[in-house]
Subunit: 316 residues, 2 copies
C-alpha cells in the first residue's frame, strides 16, 4: 500500500461530500477558561452514524466497481466502523457483512442492524475476528474494507481535517485519538500537507497504550489486554498507519480513564453535546498538560457520540 497524499484526500473529499454531513466546529468559552487555551472542536459526533468513520466507509464504498458492489462488502469492527460501513453499503444498494465481537455495545449493534447489515458475532479477540472475517470473504466473495489499514478509509477520515482547517486555518495543534490509527494517520497527512507548522498530537488512553509504546520505541507493539472505557480505541495500530504516524505525527500523550471521564462530562455539561469516551481523550490530555498547551490554538476532532449510557453510568 502506498501512503496517500493531499491530492488523494482532496479527491476523496469531493467524492464523499454529497453523502456526509459537514459537521460544525464549536467552541466553549467556559472550557477555554478552564483549559487556558483556545479549543476548536470538530464535531464528528454529529456525523452520520454518529462518528467520523462514515467518511472512510463512504469513500471506500463510493470507490468500488459495479462488479465488486454485486458481491457486497464485509469488515470486522468493535462498533463505529461497523455502523458506518453498514450505512455506506445501504446507500450504495449493496450488502454489508459485519463481524462484531460478542461484547460490542448494544447501541452499536442496534445501529448496524438498523442499517440493514448482517452481523456475524465472534469472540472478542483479534484472532477470532480475522478467522470469522475470512470465512465471510470465502463464502460471499465480498470486499473486505478494513477499519483502518486501507488507504481509501484513511483518505476518508482525513477529510475532517480539511474542513477543520478551512474554518480555522491558524491552529497550532491538532489532537486526535488513536485506536487503529485511521483517523490519526489521515489527520496527520492533511494537517502537515496544508501547514507543516501544525503540531499533530496523538491522544491515547493509558489502558490501551500500544500506539504510545510503538511511537516511543519505533517498533510496532501489539495491544495485548487493553483495559479502558474508550471502546473505540482498543485495537493495535496498523502497519501502514504506523508508517504514516512515524512520518507525520509530532507527539503522543496519554490520559487515564478518570481523566477521560472528567473531560467527557465537561463536554456534556458545558457544551450540551454527547460525545463518547474515546472522543474525550484529547481534552483530557489538554486539561492535564496545561503548561504544554497554554495560550495555544488547538483543533480537537470529537470522533463520535455513540454512548451506551447503561454501560458507562457507573463511571459518571
Amino acid at each position: 500500500m502506498q501512503i496517500p497524499n493531499l491530492a488523494d484526500i482532496q479527491i476523496a473529499h469531493e467524492r464523499i461530500k454529497p453523502f456526509i454531513h459537514r459537521t460544525p466546529v464549536l467552541c466553549s468559552e467556559k472550557i477555554n477558561q478552564i483549559a487556558e487555551c483556545e479549543i476548536y472542536f470538530k464535531c464528528e459526533n454529529f456525523q452520520k452514524v454518529g462518528a467520523f468513520k462514515y467518511r472512510g466507509a463512504t469513500n471506500a464504498l463510493q470507490s468500488l466497481s459495479e462488479a465488486e458492489l454485486t458481491l457486497g462488502v464485509c469488515t470486522h469492527s468493535s462498533g463505529n466502523h461497523a455502523a458506518a460501513l453498514a450505512l455506506a453499503a445501504q446507500k450504495r444498494n449493496t450488502k454489508a457483512y459485519i463481524v462484531m465481537p460478542s461484547n460490542a455495545p448494544k447501541v452499536k449493534i442496534d445501529a448496524v442492524l438498523s442499517y440493514g447489515a448482517e452481523i456475524i458475532f465472534c469472540e472478542p479477540n483479534i484472532r477470532a475476528r480475522e478467522t470469522t472475517l475470512q470465512t465471510i470473504v470465502d463464502k460471499y466473495g465480498s470486499t473486505f474494507i478494513h477499519p483502518f489499514k486501507d488507504t481509501r478509509v484513511i483518505c476518508g477520515q482525513a477529510t475532517a481535517t480539511i474542513e477543520l482547517l478551512e474554518e480555522t486555518p491558524t491552529l497550532g495543534y491538532i489532537i486526535v485519538p488513536v485506536g487503529g490509527g485511521g483517523l490519526l494517520s489521515g489527520t496527520s497527512i492533511s494537517a502537515k500537507s496544508i501547514n507543516p507548522n501544525i503540531k499533530v498530537i496523538a491522544a491515547e488512553p493509558t489502558g490501551a497504550d500500544d500506539a504510545y509504546r510503538s511511537v516511543k520505541t519505533g517498533e510496532l507493539v501489539a495491544s495485548q489486554t487493553p483495559n479502558t472505557i474508550c471502546d473505540g480505541l482498543l485495537t493495535t495500530i496498523g502497519e501502514i498507519n504506523f508508517e504514516i504516524i512515524k512520518q507525520y505525527v509530532d507527539d503522543i500523550m496519554l490520559a487515564d480513564d478518570t481523566q477521560i471521564v472528567e473531560a467527557m462530562l465537561l463536554i456534556w455539561t458545558r457544551m450540551k453535546i454527547v460525545v463518547e469516551p474515546s472522543s474525550a481523550v484529547a481534552l483530557a490530555i489538554i486539561l492535564n498538560n496545561k503548561d504544554y498547551f497554554r495560550n495555544t490554538k488547538i483543533g480537537v476532532i470529537l470522533s463520535g457520540g455513540n454512548v451506551d449510557f447503561s454501560k458507562i453510568k457507573s463511571y459518571i
Copy 2:
C-alpha cells in the same frame, strides 16, 4: 398585571437579541421515524446558561432603570432561572441575590456562583422561599424578578417561539413543558397571535400534575408534593400564567418519569445533544400518543440542558 401581546413580545425580542443566542432548530430523521411525525426541536439547551430562562431574565434586566440597577435584583428559583438571572445581572453590572432550595442540583448551584451571584439557601418549600426572599428585598431594596409571574419574564420566554415560527412557519402543534407556566404562557401568546390555527399543548410530568388539574377543573390547584425527575417543573403555575393558559392553550397532556427518561435518552442517543429531563416531557407525550400526533408537524421547545449526571444516573 396586564396580559402581554405580540407587540410587547416583539419589543422584548429586539431588546434581548444582542445578548442571547439564536438557538438552532434541529430535526432527527430517526426520531421522526419512531414518532411517526415531523418534529422541529428548538434547542434552548444551547441558550446561554443552558436554558430558555436566559431570555426572560435578560428582558427583565434590560428593562430596569439605572436607579433600580444600583440596588440589584433578587429571586427564588430551583435552578435555571437562578443561573439566568445571575448572568443577566452580571452583564448589566449589577448584583443578583438568589434564594435557592437547599436540595438544588449541584450543577445549578455551581452555575449561579460562577456568574458572581450571592446564594441564600432556604428549606425546599415555597413558604421558606418567599419568606427568605422578602428578607432580601427588605435588606437591600433589590428588585424581585419572579421566575414566571412577571410579564417581562413571560415576554422574554415568548421570544423562542417567534424564532421557531420564523424558521418553521407551518407547524400544526407547539408543545412545551409547564412548571410555573412562564414558557407556556409566553409561547401560547406568540403562537396564537402569529397563527391562531397552531395548537399549543402543555406537557407536564404525571408526578407534578398541578397544571393539568388546574386546566381540567378551571381552578388553580397548588403543586403539593411533586415527585418527578423533572426538577425544573415542580412549582405551581402562577395566577397570570394561568389566565393566559386558559385563554390560549389548547390542551395539556401528561407523561410519567419512565416515559420521560426514555424520551430523554432517545434525544441524547439519536441527536447527540444533552437535554435535561424537563425538556423531554414533550417528546415523551408525542411518543405515547402516536394516534393523536401522527403525520403532523410539531414544534418542541427543548427547554434546557443542565443535567446533574451524578443525580440522574440511577434512572438511565
